[in-house]
Each structure stands twice: as C-alpha cells, then as structure tokens.
C-alpha cells in the first residue's frame, strides 16, 4: 500500500492508483471531462490538473500515478485558475445553446462551469462553425459545435467496442469527430456514446426533444432482452417510458448496453398493446372483464391440456404459474422452450460473467455472442486483448468480431466429446487449462451431454453459461416450467394438438410461431379446441386465441429477472398499468385464489428458490426432458435484434443479421444468389449466401419469421423433400 496526502488528508491506496482515484477515496472531488471510469485515461482535457509538491508544473490527476509520500493539493490558487482557464477555453468555442440542448441539466460542461468557471467569459470573437445536428446513424445524432474533444466516444468505439467507426478528422482547431465519408454510425453499441458524451454533442434520435432531465422520474431496472441482464435505469415522464440508460455494474455490464437494450423499449408504448381481457364470441374477440376471462380460462383448460412459454415472464409469475399448473390445472405438460432451446441452465456449475476476467480459456459453443448476448462481447474483447484465449466450436463460424481460434465442425457435440477425452486440436489445452468458461447456445441435447462430459473430466474449475436463451429462461427453468413426469415438451404438445389429442393450450407471453416448425404450429392451432394467451403485445397467437389476458410490461412491474448466471435481479416498476393490464404474477395468484401482495409472493419465491438469491453459484440444472433436437443441415441462430422477439418499430433501424443464410450448395440448389430477395409469408426476405456455412445447410433466425400469415420457412426454401416451392419466388436484388 502507498500512503499519500491530498489536501492535508492521508489516503492509503494500492500502487498504480491514479491521484484522481485516490482523491475519490479521500472524498475529494476533482473535476474532469475526458476521464471516464470505464475508459483508459488520456489526460487530454486538462481539467483535472493538481499541484504536486516538488513538481514544477501542475499535473493531471487522471493519469498521474501516486507515489509514496506524495503531497497533493487540489485547492491552491493556481489549480483554481487552471480550472477557470480550461472552462474559459471550452466555453469560448461552445455554442452555448443549452436551452435547446437535450443534455441541458445533465451536462458536465454546465456542471463544471457552475462550480469551476469564472463569472464572465472573455471571449468576444466569432466562434468556430462546424456541422450542426445531423444524423450520424440510425440512433445517434451529432452536433460538432458542442463537442469538447474529450474523445470518450472515439475511445469507447475503438478500445471497448473494437470498431473504430468514429474517428478524428483534421487537426488542431479544425479537429472534429466524424464517421467516414458516406458511412453510417450503425454499430450495435453506438448508443453507449450518447450516454458517455459529457455534453450534448452526441444525442439520441429517439429521445431527442422529448423531455428535460428535471422532469424525469428514474427507476432502476434490468434489461429484459437477453440473458445477460444488464443493469438499466428507466427514464419516465408522466408514466411514459422515454429512455433506457445503463447503470454501472462491475459484475454484469460495466457501463455498457447494446442498442437493443438501449432502444428496444418501443413495445411498451409505441406499438399496439393488449390492454383489455378478451373472449372469442362467434369468431371475433370481444372485450370482457377480468372475472369473465379468468372464468373462461378455468373452464377451457380441462382434460388433456398443456402450457407453453414463460421465458419472458417475471420470476414471480413463473413460480406461481408452475404452482397453478401443478396444483389447479394438474398437468405435467409444461415447457418454456418455444424457441429452439434445450436448457437454459447448463449441466454442472453455472458460470458468472466475471469469470471471464479470471478464466484461462473461454470456449464459445455454437454461440453467436454478438447476436445473442451482445454486451458479453465487450468483456470478452477486453480480456482477449489482455491475453485471454478464445476458442469457438461451431457449425457456422463468425461468432465474434475478435481474433479467436475457430474450430468449424458439422458435429459440434462429437467434437466436444473428442476434446473431453483430450483428443483433437484443442483437447490438451482444454483439459490442461486452470479455469475454463464455456459459453453455450443452449441448443442440442448432444451438446449438453458433451459439456457435462467436459465438466466431469476436467480437473480445474469449469463453468458454463447459456447465452442463447430469453431474458428470463433461466428463471423459467429454475421455477420448473419444464415437462414433468410423463409430461410433453413443446413439440410433443404441438404434435398432440395437431393430432387432435390435446383439449386446451395456455400460452404465456410468447408467440407460438417462435417455434421453428411453422407447419406444425399451423396444424396445432387448427385442431386445438381451446387456446388461451396471456401477454403484453398482440401477435399471431393472441389473434387466434379464445381467451386473451393483458399483462403489464416489464417496465411496469416490480419483479425479478434471472440472468444467465442464475442471479435473480430486481426490477422496479416505472408506472401504473395501462388499461386493464395486470402484473403477470397477479394473474396466477388470482387463478390460485391467493390473496397475496408483492411482499408475499417475493417471500415465497425466495423461500422456494433460495439458490437464485444466494452468494453461491448454482450447481447446474436437472437433465431436461427432450426440448430442441437438431435437424441435420438446419441451423438455428437466435438474435435479439430480430423483431420476432419483441416487436418494436425502432428495431428496423438497427443493423441485424440476414434472416436467412444459405450454404453455397444449398443456394445453388434453390437457384438463389447472395443478396436475392424472395417473398415469404408476405414479407420480403433477403438471403445471404455464405461460404462460412456448411455448403448444404440453411441458417434461419429463430423467432424471426414473419409478420402476417406465417409461411413455413423450411418448406419455402425447399428444405423438405417434395415441399411446396411455389411460395419461394426469388428475384434478383435491386
């Protein structure tokens, strides 16, 4: 430890600490602009200069490392003058258009000017002129005149996101931040630059001019879109959710979010919502009261019935749903795995996100981290540049835009088993590494078993996390939304329905067409006598249901979501519920006849599922019955940027992977070329032909397809022998 003195106070810090951090520890504030706690310091703005005894010049606190016995002063006259100077300089060229600036009220330039500036600016010369407010990309707007050259955005993009989309152009007084000529700033991490910009140079297009910060209520929540469970803060005005920002979390997301998380809140207000309970009367859905709707649900779910979904529900709802199904409905036909998924809880010890920090080897198994759990990619990149070894084992490659060892195989499970036995190109390294983290898509029983084998055979620490599930699939599985003894899984239920062997089906907050075999879903819906749907937004399932129950959105409910680490994280409610919507857990409490409040349900959950709230890592899930089974040649990719997941008009603006990717041979067979579009269920879908895929295979984004009347994608592409290929009208790209 090193002891130094700052403004007369003794501070003890570890070697290598900067003066700025030491001062923070001593409770002394030093003003900054270019410094950001999650970025490497650069010392460019010169706002943080301090006086160090025996040094002739003032020194930047953000980059100067402490030394034993150092005597620092942050309150001398020359330090104060230096603050004034930097403020003067920055304000001299700043447009000072605070009244029309989105950042007004949460602007570090304003804040520092209040505290450290002089009363009047001496600058009376004409100001520089740069490009004002224009769209840099789908979500971000730039005003070069407001920029104070802290370089935070540029450093974030190049050092953290690994995509130098933003760069400096020109030099000296002409220097500006910009994208390349003709390029759009469309990184999936672009939104982070808005939040770390200390002024109003980078602003959010969706949020622009919507509110002043002092009118906003802010509540803490968790992002619901993927199993990372990033910490977010919701900004609300008069109950409207206007903005999602990140909250710093050392264990989960650092200070970052992906743009799906930051901008994907449109389903709450922007699109259509289910707001009234409805019953189908002579073919049409009509509004009824909750009492009647619940009565109809109880009456309809009799005999041979089942329940699907719940991976997007709150933990509280999942817990009560399972109890209701077991105690009241008395069925073991339960499955949350509507999307292709085998299990959300891996076999063996469950990893933690910060295991990445100390792992010697991370293996990405069939996982597309950038599409499925984007923020993880930032942590992986950080430690990869520090020497963490990354290996990918998959059919499709291109899992991460980072250098990694890419093991391509059409038999992922077999390759993993080989490795578990110490064979193959990676076997030795895998068995030899001290600490290994496996990031798995969660798809394929064979892969699950092979992972179990690796865990058994390795001597050192081995942890696994499932990256390809929904925002709360872990909770669903922990709460028991899996087929019980003798129960059917998702496919089993749909097949039974299609045969006429199922009398009723309850669907919880998920579209049945998330299930990849759309023909089977069609057949099931056609034969099922009773279909009930509970959820937030309308979709194909609600349109055909006999009973529709409107639920509150995640931002409207006090609840927990469980992330891929098995960590139950608390979401606070933003607003009262629109229309007749109810909290999802309340639905089941009512069905169970429990007169419970939030406290009671949370207590019950905690008592029954203590491992989700504890300090210790969970030890892995039970072997799930059935679930997703891989079809040779048909690859499913999940992507949270796909609109099938949660509809949102803003999503169209985000870059997203192609809906359908073909191996070269498959493309030849179908007469399709890269960039061709074809019509699928009323939607035009663009095809990518990729040499990265096994030549004969087809990759579809699960949950993608399509709006309107869904067509069976596998048939459309001539996947099935003798399938109907007439709906596949290819045309060349425009």
């Amino acid at each position: 430890m090193i002891t130094l003195q700052i403004d007369g106070r003794e501070v003890e810090v570890v070697p290598g600490t900067t003066i700025l951090k030491a001062a923070e520890k001593a409770g002394i504030e030093i003003p900054v602009f270019c410094y950001h706690p999650r970025l490497a310091p650069v010392g460019a703005c010169r706002m943080c200069l301090v006086r160090i005894e025996k040094m002739p010049k003032l020194q930047p606190a953000c980059t100067t490392v402490v030394a034993e016995g150092m005597v620092v002063r942050t309150d001398t006259d020359d330090v104060m003058q230096s603050h004034e100077g930097v403020m003067d300089f920055l304000l001299s060229t700043h447009p000072l258009d605070c009244p029309v600036c989105d950042a007004g009220g949460e602007c570090e330039l304003q804040d520092n000017a209040m505290r450290y500036g002089s009363n009047e600016s001496r600058f009376a010369d004409p100001k520089r002129h740069f490009k004002k407010a224009w769209d840099l990309g789908p979500m971000v707007e730039l005003d070069q005149e407001r920029c104070i050259m802290c370089l935070r955005c540029i450093r974030f993009m190049s050092d953290v996101a690994g995509d130098p989309a933003l760069t400096l152009h020109e030099r000296g007084t002409h220097v500006v931040v910009d994208v390349a000529d003709g390029r759009r700033f469309d990184s999936i991490f672009a939104g982070n630059t808005i939040q770390i910009c200390p002024v109003g140079a980078l602003t959010s297009r969706p949020y622009r001019f919507r509110a002043r910060p002092w009118d906003l209520d802010v509540v803490d929540s968790i992002c619901p879109h993927c199993p990372v469970g990033c910490h977010v803060a919701l900004s609300l005005r008069h109950g409207d959710l206007l903005r999602v920002q990140s909250r710093d979390s050392e264990e989960v997301n650092w200070a970052w979010l992906c743009d799906r998380g930051r901008f994907g809140y449109g389903f709450v207000h922007r699109g259509p919502r289910l707001t009234q309970p409805m019953l189908r009367h002579s073919g049409a859905l009509t509004v009824v009261g909750w009492h009647d709707a619940l009565g109809a649900l109880r009456a309809g779910l009799r005999g041979r019935v089942g329940a699907l979904g719940g991976g997007r529900s709150s933990l509280e709802a999942q817990y009560l749903m399972r109890r209701w199904l077991r105690e009241a409905v008395q069925t073991e036909n339960v499955d949350h795995r509507v999307l292709p998924l085998t299990s959300a809880i891996p076999p063996g010890p469950v990893g933690r996100i910060d295991d990445i920090d100390t792992a010697d080897l991370v293996v990405l198994i069939d996982a597309e981290v950038l599409e499925e759990a984007p923020v993880l990619a930032l942590r992986l990149r950080h430690f990869a540049t520090l020497g963490l070894r990354l290996v990918g084992v998959s059919e499709r490659g291109s899992l991460l835009d980072l250098p990694y060892e890419d093991i391509r195989t059409e038999d992922v499970a077999g390759t993993l088993l080989e490795m578990a036995e110490g064979r193959g190109s990676l076997g030795g390294a895998l068995l030899g590494a001290k600490k290994v983290l496996l990031l798995w898509s969660g798809r394929g029983m064979g892969q699950r078993e092979a992972i179990g084998e690796i865990v058994r055979r390795r001597a050192g620490e081995t942890y696994t996390m499932v990256v390809g599930s929904l925002g709360n699939s872990y909770g669903a599985e922990a709460a028991g939304l899996l087929p019980g003894e003798g129960g059917l899984d998702a496919r089993g239920m749909l097949e039974a329905a299609a045969r006429g062997d199922l009398d009723g089906l309850f669907v919880m907050a998920q579209d049945l067409y998330d299930f990849p075999d759309h023909e089977l879903v069609d057949a099931a819906i056609a034969r099922i006598p009773f279909l009930a749907f509970a959820g937030t937004v309308p979709g194909h399932t609600s349109e055909q249901a006999h009973v529709v129950l409107p639920l509150a959105a995640w931002s409207e409910s006090d609840c927990h979501l469980v992330n891929m680490e098995g960590r139950a994280q608390r979401c606070y409610a933003g607003v009262s519920h629109p229309g007749e919507t109810r909290d999802d857990w309340r639905l089941f409490a009512d069905l169970l006849g429990l007169d419970w409040g939030l406290q009671e349900v949370m207590q019950a959950v905690r008592a029954d599922l203590p491992e989700l709230f504890g300090q210790h890592r969970p030890q892995g899930g039970p072997v799930p019955r059935d679930g997703y089974v891989a079809t040779p040649g048909l690859i499913f990719g999940a992507s949270i940027f796909h609109k099938g997941v949660l509809p949102d008009p803003l999503l169209d603006r985000l870059p997203r992977p192609p809906d359908v990717t073909l191996g070269e041979e498959r493309a030849r067979m179908l007469g399709l070329a890269d960039g061709d579009t074809f019509e699928l269920g009323g939607e035009r879908v663009k095809v990518r032909v990729s040499p990265d895929l096994p030549a004969g295979s087809l990759l579809v984004r699960a949950g993608t397809l399509p709006a309107g009347r869904p067509a069976p994608c596998s048939t459309a592409l001539g996947w099935r022998e003798g399938g109907d290929r007439r709906c596949c009208r290819s045309s060349s790209s425009s």
Binding site: P164, T167, L168, H169, R171, D178, A180, D181, R183
Partner: protein
C-alpha cells in the same frame, strides 16, 4: 493506383516491422500518382491495410501534404515561416495570386498551378523560399517567379 504503384504498395506492406507503418508511404504513392487522394483510393488503401475507411480518412486529414481535391501540375508552396516573412515571403505569395488570378490558396482553372502558403520549410537561411512539387527554390524573387510561370506555361520547365 497504377500497376507499378500497386506493386510498390504491396512491397511497402512487408517492409516495416508492423504493417500499419505502410499507410503513410502508400498515401504518398497515391498523392504522387493522382496529385491528390481520390475517394476510391481511400477505400482501396483501407482494404490493403485491413483498416476502415474512416481510419484512413482520419489519418490523412491530419497531414497537410495530403490533398482531398486535385492539385495543379505544379504545386507551388510559398513559405510563410517567420524568417521568410521577414524577407518578403508574403510578397511572393501576393505576386502569385495576382499573376494567377487566385484569391488565396487554390488551383488555377487550367489545372496548371496550385498555390499554397505553408509554414516554415526549413531553409530559413535562404529566405524567401518556395517549393515546387516539393523541390526547393531558395532566395526567390518576383523576377524568378515570373520566369518560372512563363516557362511552366510554355511547358519548358523540366517536369519536377
């Protein structure tokens, strides 16, 4: 880039301990060939070094010897460093502007001359100094300039 320069660029990529170092020399090749850095070349240079176009633009815009607009056959750089200024450098610039009908730094319509006032050219002892296509002309007078312009227009001046 023409074939010869492409070959040289490829050679440059391998001639430093780190490929990134080849960027500025390759941009020099482009500037030499075209008299500026055309948009399309930015893209191909970026591809060559496996960096983004934004990155290349960012680097080249830092340096004054890379131009984004075409320059004339003769790039005339008039030194305005203090030493040249003291010995009449600005008068040379004024003379060129008058003779060529330019208002400030710019290129004549016939594409023959680009005039730029530049910072100290490091030949202060021979002030005033100009460079024509990066070759020094020390102790230049109005008369020297007039002669240079005449010869250049007649195409007599050795290409340099």
């Amino acid at each position: 880039m023409n074939a010869e320069n492409t070959r040289r660029a490829e050679q440059l990529l391998g001639s430093f301990p780190n490929r990134s170092s080849a960027l500025i020399p390759i941009l020099h090749l482009v500037e030499d060939e075209f008299g500026f850095i055309p948009e399309g070349e930015v893209e191909s240079v970026a591809a060559m070094l496996d960096v983004t176009k934004a990155y290349v633009e960012s680097v080249l815009s830092f340096y004054t010897l890379f131009h984004r607009q075409p320059t004339g056959k003769y790039l005339v750089q008039v030194c305005r460093g203090l030493s040249c200024h003291l010995r009449g450098g600005d008068d040379l610039a004024r003379f060129l502007y008058e003779e060529l009908g330019l208002r400030r730094n710019g290129t004549t319509e016939d594409g023959l001359f680009t005039v730029e006032e530049v910072e100290c050219l490091a030949l202060c002892k021979d002030a005033p100094v100009i460079q024509v296509n990066l070759e020094y002309r020390p102790n230049v007078s109005r008369a020297d300039l007039a002669k240079f312009l005449r010869q250049a227009r007649e195409g007599v001046t050795a290409d340099a």
